[in-house]
């Protein structure tokens, strides 16, 4: 059970922000996201010459008076998006205090921004090798807050298998919104397959990596039996007996940096967004600075 800051004050600070999704998405009718397709909104987009079959009500008569040619006035379209959250609820997310809450906080913040834009949201919880969808499709703040309240009570256990679980989610639409994967990605499972699947479904993908400072830079040297939180027994090959020396810690830092670079490179090559956050960083700073820099919110 994790305690996350889902207070009113937390959400009220997000009121000034909005979620910025790709304009190439199609989404559903009736949202607030401007897309590249021309539609029926009042937002002017362009002119074009009249062709037979066009609605003559859109002819700009002022231009006709000036050029004696028929031009149509075009407007952008606004759509509703589906924002999916794939939340890593494996045991690894609950090893360090605050890590799970941080992950939930990010999910809630992004969810709130989506709901505020009248988007549909859904929370998919991945644990014990399965994916749970306890809340279904959420629209509107009431249902959102109800779900957020329930999220506080979820448990983190077992392991998350993104590659198997993400494609199995039935409500994943095509080209209709943002998929956010929140995890520490400290797993040997091929989570990249899940990303590829979502991109195949033409969804905008955001990977939020939540890491505890101890994971970024373990500070202690000495002899350790390292037990993987997701292992079921001591003899699990994921467990290690290590004599950690100072040089090894340096090598850990170097290897960690390479690992992050590999994830970044993977996401960049696929067109997905990636943000690695340290739980030591205040969540507001992550949202207002880091996500802002990602052009995901504004």
């Amino acid at each position: 059970m994790t305690e996350a800051d889902f207070s009113d004050a937390f959400f009220s600070r997000l009121e000034t922000l909005s979620l910025q999704l790709q304009s190439t998405l199609s989404g559903y009718f009736g949202g607030k996201h401007l897309i590249k397709k021309y539609g029926q909104t009042v937002e002017f987009a362009d002119f074009r010459e009249y062709t037979i079959g066009d609605d003559i009500r859109r002819i700009d008569w002022n231009l006709f008076a000036r050029f004696e040619k028929y031009f149509l006035k075009l407007f952008t379209d606004e759509r509703q998006m589906h924002v999916q959250f794939f939340l890593d609820c494996s045991a690894s997310m609950d090893v360090y205090p605050g890590k799970a809450a941080y992950a939930l906080g990010l999910a809630a913040a992004l969810g709130f921004l989506a709901v505020r834009n009248t988007d549909k949201i859904s929370f998919h919880l991945l644990k014990d090798g399965a994916v749970l969808d306890p809340f279904g499709m959420l629209v509107g703040k009431n249902s959102f807050f109800g779900a957020v309240g329930a999220l506080k009570k979820i448990s983190f256990e077992g392991e998350a298998d993104f590659a198997a679980c993400v494609p199995s989610v039935p409500s994943t639409g095509t080209n209709d919104g943002l998929s956010v994967i929140i995890s520490d990605f400290l797993t040997e499972n091929r989570w990249q397959k899940a990303v590829d699947y979502l991109l195949y479904k033409k969804r905008q993908v955001l990977l939020l990596q939540v890491l505890d400072p101890s994971e970024i830079a373990p500070g202690d040297s000495g002899r350790f039996d390292l037990i993987d939180a997701e292992s079921r027994e001591l003899g699990d090959p994921r467990n290690l007996r290590l004599k950690i020396s100072r040089p090894m810690l340096d090598e850990y830092a170097d290897e960690f940096r390479k690992w992050i670079e590999e994830i970044k490179h993977f996401c960049l090559s696929r067109g997905a967004d990636f943000l690695s956050v340290n739980t030591a960083t205040p969540i507001e700073k992550t949202i207002f600075r880091d996500l802002f820099r990602c052009d995901l919110i504004r």
């Binding site: 690894s92 997310m93 090893v95 360090y96 890590k99 520490d184 400290l186 797993t187 040997e188 505890d212 101890s214 994971e215 000495g222 002899r223 350790f224 039996d225 390292l226 037990i227 993987d228 939180a229 997701e230 994921r238 467990n239 290690l240 007996r241 290590l242 004599k243 090894m248 090598e251 850990y252 290897e255 960690f256 390479k258 690992w259």
Partner: protein, 658 residues
């Protein structure tokens, strides 16, 4: 069989087992820590595994290899010797004194008996070599110290024992001297290379202390050995009478009074040869308290002294042989009990002179030469008086001297074949005699003109060509290419020489009357001619063993008979006397002349007759001193190294397992 431990202290190494046990029991404590994932750690380990294998494996391999080497070396029981310990008693240099005195045996009642000192030296050397090789590997060098010391074997090990034995068996004691100083210098060379060798000198010469490396084995035995020797004989003619100064020596514990016998054979005063025998009493008494143990005396004997059996008033001017001995001596060295004197027969040179216009220069020249040669040669000069009806002989002379004209009987009968033909100032008769040249013209010079020599020729060895002046000479036309011009005047050859061994012709193409040759250079020229064509066979007739004589030959070849026969054809030659005794030098003239026989006697060196000698030189041959800490067992240290390597290897393996 009893099992014993050479180094029980080594059992302390078993404490290492306790240490090893402790290392295994005292396992390090590991803290359990739950982490969100070990992905990064696994990547770190993978990276380390990729980086480390080469170094780690090489290190482990090296340690394991070193461990095996250390164990192997420990099993081989290493022992560190200092160089001295290693080389001490490992190399012997054995010097065998091969001087004539080493032939000394014990004096018996009827002669020398038992082994010679040299035989004893060989046996003792063999025993010493046996002792060396019984200890293990070693090396032996054998130096035979005669007049020219040399190695019989050098640095021969046990594997070359047969070679050493063969060298010992074939070693021969000489009749000459031994250059022990040179032999010891050779040993010093070995000592420089290995300062721990032992040098054994088997000799009969007494040496003082000459260093720690040298062991002198004195083989002289004064209780059984003594020697009396005829050391030499000086021959002189006093008052037309031969006087023999006989030097005698006695050595060792001896006191004798004997009669020395002197036999003179072939004594001739012109009436024919006859023999004499003289008996001279001699006595010796060596002072046993004297450190020298030597008694020397010289007995002067006149050949005609009646008190020794000589015939007073019966002088002789030549003798064939004088034998000097002390009979029934039975001492330790019989070789020096007899002495022979030769040289009592003088070389005779017969010269025939025939001239169309005789002069006295030639006879005067040869007679002066006879006087100046100190009586070594006896020159008979016969002038042919043609006015008295005498005719020239073509045989029986050593020199045939024809001046101006070749005698017609010679032209008719042929040139002499058994001597040197000398033609002075030839005329037309030369062509008639088929000498190989003819007179082309007579050249008269405006003034006395000096001569030049093209190359040095023995005939002009001591002459100054420029001091030979001519006013007239004959230009010769040579048809025989074997004539060699040796002196030139006015650009023309004036003296020719033809020497083919069988035929020896000298041509003077000028008359003594038309030159100043006779004033000074003529005598030298005659001397050169005698030395070139009629050299004396030997300078003297007594030699010591080991001495070289210069041998000349008037004829074609020479046989030298001593302990064998040697034939010489190239002269002058050097002949080495290797044994004591009489040597016969027989000169062969081919079929033209009878052989000429000369004898010489080689006796052992007087110092070798002195059988109890002392060295007159000193060489210091010291070994390098050995230090007290000469050797140390390394078994313990190799075992320690093995244990340390084992622990280190275990540690690294353990670290890798982690």
């Amino acid at each position: 069989m009893i099992l014993r431990w050479l180094l029980p202290l080594g059992f302390l190494g078993m404490l290492g087992v306790i240490v090893l046990l402790a290392l295994y029991l005292l396992k390090p404590q590991y803290k359990t820590q739950t982490v969100s994932g070990t992905l990064i750690w696994k990547r770190v380990l993978l990276r380390k595994k990729r980086q480390r294998p080469v170094l780690s494996h090489i290190l482990v391999f090296l340690l394991q290899a070193l461990l095996l080497i250390a164990v192997s070396l420990a099993l081989a029981q290493p022992y560190l010797f200092s160089k001295g310990v290693l080389l001490e008693d490992s190399e012997y240099v054995i010097i065998l004194d091969a001087s004539a005195s080493m032939r000394t045996r014990a004096a018996g009642e009827e002669g020398a008996v038992g082994d010679t000192r040299f035989d004893k030296a060989l046996k003792k050397a063999e025993e010493e070599i046996d002792r060396l090789f019984a200890k293990g590997d070693g090396a032996v060098s054998l130096i035979l110290a005669d007049s020219a010391p040399h190695y019989l074997v050098n640095g021969a090990g046990r594997d070359r024992r047969s070679e050493i034995d063969s060298a010992l068996r074939s070693a021969i004691c000489s009749s000459g001297t031994a250059d022990l100083e040179e032999a010891l210098e050779m040993a010093r060379g070995q000592l420089d290379a290995n300062p721990y060798i032992k040098i054994f000198l088997y000799t009969d010469t007494k040496f003082g202390d000459m260093g720690s490396a040298l062991t002198v084995v004195d083989l002289a035995d004064e209780s059984t050995e003594w020697n009396v020797a005829v050391l030499g004989c000086d021959v002189a003619v006093r008052d037309n009478e031969y006087e023999f100064g006989i030097r005698l020596g006695a050595y060792g514990n001896v006191a004798i009074a004997r009669t020395m016998r002197m036999q003179i054979r072939g004594a001739d005063n012109g009436d024919g040869p006859s023999n004499y025998e003289l008996k001279i009493p001699v006595s010796f008494e060596v002072d046993p308290d004297s450190p020298v143990r030597e008694a020397l005396t010289t007995v002067k004997v006149r050949a005609t002294d009646p008190k020794y059996g000589g015939e007073e008033g019966r002088f002789f001017d030549t003798f064939e042989e004088v034998r000097i001995e002390i009979p029934d001596l039975y001492d330790s060295i019989p070789d020096d009990d007899v002495y022979f004197v030769y040289g009592g027969v003088k070389d005779k040179i017969a010269v025939e002179y025939c001239s169309a216009e005789p002069n006295t220069f030639w006879q005067f020249g040869f007679s002066t030469l006879t006087k100046n040669l100190g009586g070594k040669r006896k020159i008979s000069f016969r002038e042919i008086y043609r006015d008295a009806g005498e005719t020239a002989e073509r045989t029986g002379y050593d020199f045939y001297l024809f001046e101006h004209a070749i005698p017609p009987e010679i032209v008719e009968a042929g040139l002499p074949q058994d001597g040197v033909l000398m033609i002075a100032d030839p005329n037309y008769t030369a062509a008639q005699a088929n000498l190989g040249f003819r007179v082309a013209e007579t050249v008269t010079l405006p003034a006395l003109t000096g001569c030049t020599a093209s190359a040095s020729h023995p005939l002009l060895r001591y002459n100054d060509p420029s001091a030979i002046g001519l006013t007239q000479y004959k230009r010769l036309e040579m048809t025989d290419p074997l004539f060699l011009p040796v002196l030139y005047c006015n650009g023309d050859p004036v003296i020719y020489v033809k020497d083919t061994g069988d035929v020896k012709i000298v041509v003077l193409a000028f008359s003594l009357n038309m030159s100043d040759f006779y004033q000074r250079e003529f005598m030298i020229f005659l001397y050169n001619m005698l030395e070139t064509f009629m050299p004396v066979t030997l300078d003297r007739y007594d030699y010591t063993v080991g001495e070289r004589a210069q041998v000349n030959c008037k004829g074609v070849s020479m046989d030298i008979t001593g302990r064998g026969t040697v034939t010489l054809t190239d002269f002058p030659a050097q002949y080495l006397f290797t044994e004591a005794g009489t040597y016969t030098f027989t000169t062969h003239f081919g079929s033209k002349k009878d052989d000429e026989v000369r004898k010489a006697y080689a006796h052992i060196v007087s110092d070798e007759s002195a059988i109890f000698g002392e060295s007159d030189f000193r060489i210091v041959l010291d070994n390098r001193e050995l230090t007290g800490d000469a050797g140390r067992s390394l078994l313990f240290w190799f075992a320690v190294a093995a244990v340390l390597l084992l622990v280190l290897e275990w540690y690294i393996q353990f670290k890798d397992i982690v």
